[in-house]
């Protein structure tokens, strides 16, 4: 989230699209209710189903799964055509006026530079025109045909309300009514917030869905505002934290990048990360990258990391492909190329697509290690459960070690919520039986492997032997020790960069925040964006002061948020070019003639004079991007793409299938189906009574929602002769599941391209362990393909068929 849960109360208009907050985030959704009750805010829901959120909305419109980009580009088109643009914001705070390379263009649903055999774009033309001074050229009058604004206008031109209706199945009158509601928020003192979740991410072009709305929000001037922003409703309690901490194959902590084979040494790696400003006077904060990276390497390898050895840069694995993401690892496993696999609090057998492929892949491992507080289907993938897990244990050679861990109630530490608040928690109970903390388990694994290397030597032992493991009890680092290591400390004396006589931190002291990080080896920090979480003032994550001056919802002294306790990102953009708030009733930060002050930590140097340094300090342009240059693999503008399995052809180019820049493995491409055999659109979602595959272990939740079902419309039920609570079989080209049918008015046929389409809704909470009845999940059916940029699987739009059937067989129970 750019903003926070408590900030939603400040909004005028909420659009929930790509999510179902009332169902999946009920206690956060109350802030929507608050805005409606206290401010008269309105709520729009756009979703294939009439969801729980839709049931309390002011206005609802249906949409076909996987067609969101066309809808959003249509909305941008309408805003431009009807002059619903926050012009001062767009001119000054976006790259609307920057000129784009003459070679850039698009046709037939593709941008320039497409290489079909590689499923990749040569992005060399996706760039600004650069002047002799090294800065991007601009035309502040927005008259130049090559300025971003004019290119955007041309790009969105095909997405008329009629075309939106044809592609998305959203009736034109509903689309136009919503456009009028959204258009009101182009006024400088009107704000819309976007709340979305996996309904937008789980597509082969998920990142572009989100960009589409972010662009609309920029055009309306809603980013950086109280009650505005792009608010990703993260699905798990610390999925934000694990992402921030860089537990990803392509990332390091704080969104630093894993090196690739092209980064032959540390200097080469840094040379590609200069982030030279693209406009005069701009901050381009990533210019500090070397400080963050050296401090990370010092946190990893301590005294062993020296300038001479490139701070142990070579200890890090270098990638030969863009990503060793989960899809790739399971594909390698499927081919017999993986021997050992660890699942720490993760149940991929139910979470990842094409379950049949996952089972085959896991069966080829030598050893699977699971770490979880609960039974998981993954740890028992080899166990026969009749139709629910139809395997022959004797034929599966994989050894499995199942390790019991503690849960939240028995451990101490911080979790990062969706609004980037790091909240500390304390244990209330003792671990059951022999269950252990994950920190103890990781320490044991590390210490034992290190001991083997000490005794036996081996292949490149240095990264392991030299890993910094300086804890009072090496067997179990404490949460406090780890948090301080993440925050970072001075290794040498840290002085002010301008006035070097001024000492900021003596050796051994915790750093105040990341502004004190250095690239000379005198500081360490495990995750630069978390620096400040536990400094010499103490554990800021444990703060519990509920004061909130003037009721802004910022709660600056409650817990701690990254970066530097800032609660609303880009908040400098809440004021006009002179530093005066766009909306005097909703002031956030402002210029008092000498510096930036306000209710939040200003997202700009506090003495940066208005009109010079622009608000988007992380970008080399200083402004936000309506045109994203070569930063996304599938285009600098979002362009309509159909799902890999779609009931209709891409109207821009019927030969295109899915996202043309998304990676798909050969076997998986061969399994893609067409609507000739699979005429209906499957989609997946959560229910409010359950959390993922966890709460089916809880007797209470299993009583509330005991049994797997699928939702279908009355029209489809009639067509197929299916009655309410009948057993049905739903199948795709990859698998088949059985479920009770729930015949509902919440789903209606969608008219797309002249065809009536039916959506089959599949909730995701059942498996073969726990207290609830055994059931299936949507992942038995979903395709093994991910988003072009981040490899999130396309679980929200795929093709299925449905028929009436007999009950499933239970099989043995464990």
């Amino acid at each position: 989230m750019t903003n926070s849960w408590t900030d939603i109360k400040n909004t005028d208009l909420v659009i929930v699209m790509g999510g179902n907050a009332a169902e999946a985030h009920p206690c956060g959704f109350k802030w929507v209710t608050e805005a409606k009750a206290r401010r008269g805010a309105r709520l729009i829901v756009v979703d294939p189903r009439f969801t729980r959120t839709a049931s309390v909305a002011d206005y609802y419109a249906p949409i076909r799964p996987g067609s969101d980009i066309a809808w959003l580009m249509g909305m941008i088109r309408w805003m431009i055509e009807n002059d619903k643009v926050q012009w001062d914001y767009v001119r000054n705070y976006t790259n609307a006026s920057l000129l784009v390379n003459e070679g850039f263009g698009w046709s037939d649903g593709l941008f320039t530079g497409y290489e079909p055999e590689k499923r990749n774009y040569d992005m060399s033309t996706w760039e600004y025109q650069i002047g002799d001074d090294g800065f991007a050229l601009t035309d502040p009058t927005l008259r130049d045909p090559r300025c971003v604004w004019n290119l955007l206008k041309a790009h969105v031109d095909p997405y008329t309300p009629e075309m939106v209706e044809r592609i998305c199945g959203t009736p034109k009158d509903r689309f136009l009514r919503i456009a009028e509601m959204i258009g009101e928020c182009s006024a400088p003192d009107k704000v819309m917030t976007s709340m979305y979740a996996l309904g937008w991410t789980q597509h082969s072009k998920g990142a572009q869905n989100i960009r589409g709305m972010a662009m609309l929000q920029l055009i309306l001037g809603n980013i950086g505002m109280r009650g505005g922003g792009m608010n990703a409703l993260r699905g798990h309690s610390n999925i934000q934290g694990l992402t921030d901490m860089g537990l990803m194959s392509n990332l390091l902590p704080g969104y630093l990048n894993m090196p690739t084979e092209k980064d032959t040494d540390f200097d080469t790696y840094l040379s590609k990360r200069q982030y030279k400003p693209l406009r005069p006077d701009q901050t381009s904060y990533w210019q500090n990258y070397p400080k963050f990276m050296v401090s990370y390497l010092k946190a990893m390898w301590g005294d062993h990391a020296t300038k001479e050895n490139g701070w142990c840069f070579d200890y890090l694995p270098k990638l030969d492909v863009a990503n060793y993401d989960i899809l790739r690892m399971f594909d390698m496993m499927y081919k017999g190329e993986v021997n050992l696999y660890f699942c720490q609090g993760f149940n991929p057998l139910l979470a990842f697509p094409n379950r049949a492929k996952l089972t085959t892949a896991l069966s080829k491992l030598k050893l699977l290690v699971t770490m979880d507080p609960l039974e998981t289907e993954t740890s028992r993938f080899w166990e026969n459960h009749g139709d629910f897990n139809d395997v022959d244990p004797a034929a599966i050679e994989t050894e499995v070690i199942q390790l019991p861990t503690t849960c939240f109630a028995e451990e101490e530490g911080s979790l990062t919520n969706s609004g980037r608040w790091l909240q500390w928690h304390w244990p209330g109970g003792s671990p059951p039986g022999e269950a252990k903390h994950d920190t103890w388990i990781m320490a044991q694994i590390f210490l034992r492997v290190r001991e083997l290397y000490r005794q036996e030597g081996g292949t490149v032992p240095e990264p392991i032997l030299n890993l910094n493991w300086d804890y009072a009890d090496p067997n179990e680092p404490t949460a406090e020790e780890l948090a301080k290591e993440i925050n970072g400390r001075a290794l040498g004396q840290v002085t002010d960069l301008v006035d070097t006589s001024k000492v900021l931190a003596e050796p051994g002291k915790l750093l105040q925040n990341f502004t004190q990080l250095r690239d000379d080896g005198s500081t360490s920090s495990g995750c630069w964006i978390y620096s400040g979480c536990w400094n010499e003032q103490g554990n800021n994550m444990a703060r519990r002061d509920t004061s909130d001056p003037d009721g802004t919802g910022a709660y600056l002294n409650w817990s701690w948020s990254w970066p530097v306790n800032r609660r609303i990102l880009y908040n400098r953009a809440s004021a006009d070019l002179d530093g005066n708030p766009w909306d005097p009733e909703r002031k956030l930060v402002w210029w008092n003639g000498e510096k930036w002050i306000g209710y939040d930590v200003p997202d700009i140097a506090v003495t940066a004079k208005p009109g010079t340094v622009m608000p988007f300090i992380m970008n080399p342009e200083g402004v936000s991007r309506l045109f994203s240059r070569g930063l996304m693999r599938d285009g600098p503008f979002p362009i309509h793409m159909e799902p890999f399995e779609s009931p209709v052809a891409n109207f821009l180019n019927p030969d295109l299938r899915g996202n043309p820049a998304a990676r798909i493995f050969e076997d998986d491409a061969a399994q893609l189906a067409t609507s000739a055999d699979f005429p209906h659109v499957g989609t997946s979602y959560r229910l409010t009574e359950h959390f993922h595959y966890w709460t089916k272990h809880n007797p209470v939740n299993s009583v509330l929602q005991p049994e797997f079902f699928v939702e279908i419309s009355e029209e489809l039920a009639k067509e197929k002769g299916i009655g309410n609570a009948d057993w049905v079989r739903v199948w795709s080209n990859r698998g088949s599941i059985k479920a009770k049918a729930y015949v509902t008015k919440r789903l209606k046929p969608l008219m797309c391209d002249g065809k009536a389409l039916h959506v089959v809704g599949i909730p995701l909470h059942w498996g073969f362990t726990g207290a609830a009845r055994k059931g299936f999940g949507p992942n038995s059916l979903t395709p093994f393909v991910g988003d072009a940029n981040v490899e999130t699987p396309e679980s929200k739009a795929f093709l299925v068929n449905i028929e009436k059937t007999t009950p499933p067989t239970e099989g043995a129970t464990s």
Partner: protein, 198 residues
């Protein structure tokens, strides 16, 4: 952190005072003693409170765990979970999942001992922590020694290990995440993701 003076403790003190005064003032001196004698002690009076947050979605509602016993000494049992009324986001409210958190903590399928499944077996068997961890360490060392790619064809040091993979969680703490990423990246594991990929 335990709550120094809990709201319940405060109410207990205040409430008892009010009751005694009003009953006494009405001339029911003996009735007062009888009244106090038959009122069952409130169950949570003797519990310890700990501040925590809900482990499910990212709203991160504040919760209070009520337990008996000493967490540090072991044997502390959680008797009750409720929303934290002081928390700015949830203001004490919980959803159908959060309201049933005690069932998660005490789920019948909570794991309490390490277990091992042999190749081809149709069941788990118990294994000691020592044996399990030694087996894991041995397997890691052997596979890494055999399969770590130290340099590529151009002679560039790459130290990449792709025959072992690691999936991290979605609900572990940031501190656990740091301990985990230190170990996994230092080993050279390339196939390292967390649930955010979903």
């Amino acid at each position: 952190m335990n709550v120094d003076l809990s709201r319940r403790g405060f109410l207990k003190l205040a409430g008892a005072g009010v009751a005694a005064t009003s009953v006494g003032a009405m001339g029911f001196g003996e009735a007062e003693a009888a009244e106090i004698a038959h009122v069952r002690a409130f169950k949570l009076w003797t519990t310890t409170e700990a501040r925590n947050t809900c482990p499910y979605c990212s709203v991160a509602c504040g919760v209070i765990l009520y337990s008996k016993g000493d967490v540090k000494a072991g044997g502390a049992e959680i008797l009750h979970v409720e929303g934290d009324a002081d928390h700015p986001t949830n203001r004490g409210t919980l959803c159908p999942k959060g309201a049933a958190l005690k069932d998660f903590i005490h789920a019948p399928t909570r794991l309490t001992e390490p277990r091992y499944r042999k190749a081809g077996a149709d069941r788990f068997e118990p294994i000691t922590w020592d044996a399990a961890l030694d087996k894991i360490a041995r397997a890691l060392k052997d596979d890494r020694d055999a399969n770590l790619i130290t340099t590529n064809a151009e002679g560039v040091t790459v130290n990449r290990w792709t025959s072992t993979g690691f999936l991290a969680a979605s609900a572990t703490t940031n501190e656990t995440a740091w301990a985990t990423t230190k170990v996994v990246k230092a080993l050279g594991v390339a196939g390292f993701d967390n649930q955010a990929r979903v």
